[in-house]
Structures are given as structure tokens and as C-alpha cells.
Amino acid sequence: MKNKYSIFSLIKNAFSYHENWQKAWKDPTPKKEYDAIIVGGGGHGLATAYYLAKKHNMKNIAVVEKSWIGGGNTGRNTTIIRSNYLWDASAGLYDHALKIWEGLSQELNYNVMFSQRGVMNLAHNLQDVRDLKRRTHANRLNGIDAFYLSTEEVKKFCPIINTSPDIRYPVLGGTLQKRAGTARHDAVAWGYARGADEMGVDIIQNCEVKGIKRNGDEVEGIETTKGFIKTKKVGVVAAGHSSVIAGMAGLRLPLESKPLQALVSEPVKPIIDTVVMSNAVHAYVSQSDKGELVIGAGTDDYISYSQKGSHQIVEGTLNAILELYPIFSRMRMLRQWGGIVDICPDASPIISKTSVKGLYFNCGWGTGGFKATPGSGDLFAHTIANDEPHKLNAAFNLNRFISGDLVDEHGAAAVAH
């Protein structure tokens, strides 16, 4: 049993100089066999293991991670959470996640610092205005809170935005989702890891998958740097490396892995209390509780696994930021980094069975997977446990690339790509 985190445990541990806190998760050696193995110890993978144990009573499971948990894209994203997607299937998927976010800290007894500070999307040309109005209406029909804002209302909601009509991309309006916001990305991975570990899930770090063993059309187990582990069910949540793992099982996926960059500034006093995204000029910004501006840039157009992006991508983003927020002109940037994102042709994820029995993939989240972490884990766990998708992720199957029934969110929604 884990000790509950509370004000009392904080006081109690203060007396022992915080040196006797119970370990949040064990460091087990892999068993010979598991009922299911999740490949990838990021937020989505750990959430999948958590819900497999909690809702589907599968306790003999493991998460294998080639590095440390939450060290990939979970620790590299800009932590934006929202559900204002255009299509019904996407709205269902992302709003399912948002509803879980709203009670997640309590459920996990771990403060994920979920903050519903609102997400605003800006329109810079007539087509943006039309698209955003259409999306607002679509959102409302799906029960998602969405508002369309005029330029004056945008200015009122976030006074530091330059709404002058004579900038190169003037702000013509915007949308607002008030339930949207941010969360602390590391805490999400750690909270799910602690919760899963408590229910008996083995979290095995520094264990890279080297091969997937098949017996005809069935999965038999995985080869890892810590030896062979037998299992009948493998759920792969490997983000940018999904195609590499798929290749081990002899499959191809409709993915391209590209670098996506982000950067943070030096910490300053509170200046922006919401999240502002702008697709046309590709700049989005929020402020962390530490005071750093968190800025998301775009992807490079070439395939790369190097976790490094091009300088001109960052430069373009900062140009846009400066035009929209002249107040930041003397801010200094502290850190810049890249992550490898797996992008689907229709910019929607894949949470699906495959042609190999017992092999499941949760991938293709591209530039926007963090927001879906709890929902993705919940639905992927359902898919693995029942060998059938949940109705909320049925549309996000691999077969859609053959049938042509794509969920085309590219540009249609507020997805920044």
C-alpha cells in the first residue's frame, strides 16, 4: 500500500528532513512472462497500464521503457490541454480525456497541477474567421464549451496581445475554450506510474525492445536488452519510434517521424494567465507556474530521429511571437529542445488492433498527444483487454487508411502543425 500524500504526510516527513519518503515505484527485474506488456513508459503508456490494472483487473503486466519514464515527448511538450476539435470522432476522443483530467489529481492522489486557464485560438485572416466560427458551432453541437471572440474581446481576455490592424497578420478574432488549460507533464507520468505500481504493475526502465517474436500471426513475446519476455499481448505506445517497433513485427505504419521544437524563456512575474495559440503564424505561448514563457514551435519537414530541429523554425516562431506580443522583445530564452513526433497523413491518432493477433498500436498523435493522455490510456487499455476498440476510439483504427474513412483534422481543427 502506498502512503497517501496529504498535508499530514508532508508535516510528518518534515520531521525526518524529507529523507524517509516511501519510493513512488519499485525498480523490478522483469519476470519471465506477463499477461500484457506495454512498450513505452511515457504518459500514454503508463496511463494504459494504470487503466488495464484498475478497470480491467489485469495485474500481471509490465511497462518497458528504453530510457527513464516520462523522458521522451511526455517531458518535452508544451502541456496544452483542450478538446475543441472539429469532427465528432475527435471531439469525442479529446473531450473524454478532458473529463478525466478534471478529476485526475484526486484520483491519482498526485497533484498534476491541472489548471483550467482557458485556451484561445486566434484568427488572422478571413478564412481563419470562417473556420473558427464553424468549429465553434461544431463544438457546441458536441457539448464542448466554445465561444467566438471579437478582436476587442480577445484584447480584453489577454491584454498583452497586439491587436493593432496594421501588423502583418492582424488579429481578426478568436475562439475560447474555458475548460481547457495546462498540466504539469512530469507529474502526469509520475502519478500514473505510482498508481500503476501500487496495483502491481512492473515498471521496467532502461529496457529497450530489440525485437517482437511472432508465431505465425500471433505475438509470443518481446526481445529486450534485459532478455526475452513472454507475453500474448503487446501494446506499443512508442511515439516517434512507432515505425521502428512496427518494423520489428514486420508491419508498416502510415507515419512519418519529424522533429518538433519548443523553448522556454527566463522566469518572469505573471504576465499571461491563459494559453494563446495562433496557427496562421504558428506561435503558441503560455506561462508556467515557475514564470517561464513556454513557447511551441513547428515541425521540420524532413524525417529525423535526432531530437534536434532547424534554427529557422525557432526563428520563425519567435518572429511571430514578437509581432503579437511586442512586450516580450527583450525576453531571453533559457532552453530549447526537440522531440520526435509521429505524424499521420490525416493528423489524427491510431489506437488500434493490427493484423497480428495480440499486437496493438497507440501512435500517430503527432504534435498534440499530451492533452489526450488520460483518455488515450483508458481507451487503449479497453482495446487491449477486450481485443475490441471502445466506441470512442473505433474511428481511429488502422483500417481507415485502406477504407478511406479518414478523420481529417489537418488544418480543419485548431491543430498546430
Partner: protein, 91 residues
């Protein structure tokens, strides 16, 4: 971020170029004969290799010509540049 040696213009910054994705994907000769599976293979499925990959590039802000490249995607090191229409080199 890297320097690309355009076979027509010489060494230029990568920002002048546009990546054209996986090379040597042949357009189906008989599109009307293709099954849905074959269409999906041609349109969507990609090798997405971690390691040396053959890909197309276009010198978009230069001579605007296309060429092929063998590049290691794990560290962005360019191994070889060769012309359109040429067969991929053996590793």
C-alpha cells in the same frame, strides 16, 4: 539543421530546401486495377526508417530542381546525393 550539397548549385543551408519524403515510391502503372490495400500501401504506408534512408529533396529557394539523397535519420548525416532517375545505391 545541416548543409546540403545541391548537385546543381553546390553547398547551401538546409533552409533553402524542401524535403520530399521517401524516394523510389513508384506510381502504380495501372491505377484502375489497384485494390484498396494496394492504394493504401502506395499513398500512406511509409518505411520511416531510423538509419540510412533514401529520400527526395527539392532546392526550393535555389535552382528548384529535385534530387535524391541517402541520409542517416538518426543523426542527420548525409551519406550520398544522387540524381533523380538513378537507382538507389546499395548500402
Amino acid at each position: 539543421m545541416f548543409i546540403i550539397n545541391c548537385p546543381f548549385c553546390g553547398e547551401r543551408d538546409q533552409s533553402e530546401f524542401k524535403a520530399g519524403g521517401e524516394a523510389h515510391i513508384e506510381r502504380p502503372k495501372q491505377p484502375t486495377e489497384l485494390s484498396d490495400d494496394e492504394w493504401a500501401e502506395y499513398l500512406f504506408m511509409r518505411k520511416n526508417i531510423k538509419g540510412v534512408q533514401f529520400e527526395r529533396w527539392n532546392h526550393a529557394h535555389g535552382c528548384r530542381k529535385w534530387f535524391n539523397m541517402a541520409r542517416d535519420t538518426s543523426n542527420d548525416e548525409i551519406k550520398l546525393i544522387y540524381k533523380m532517375g538513378e537507382k538507389p545505391p546499395l548500402k
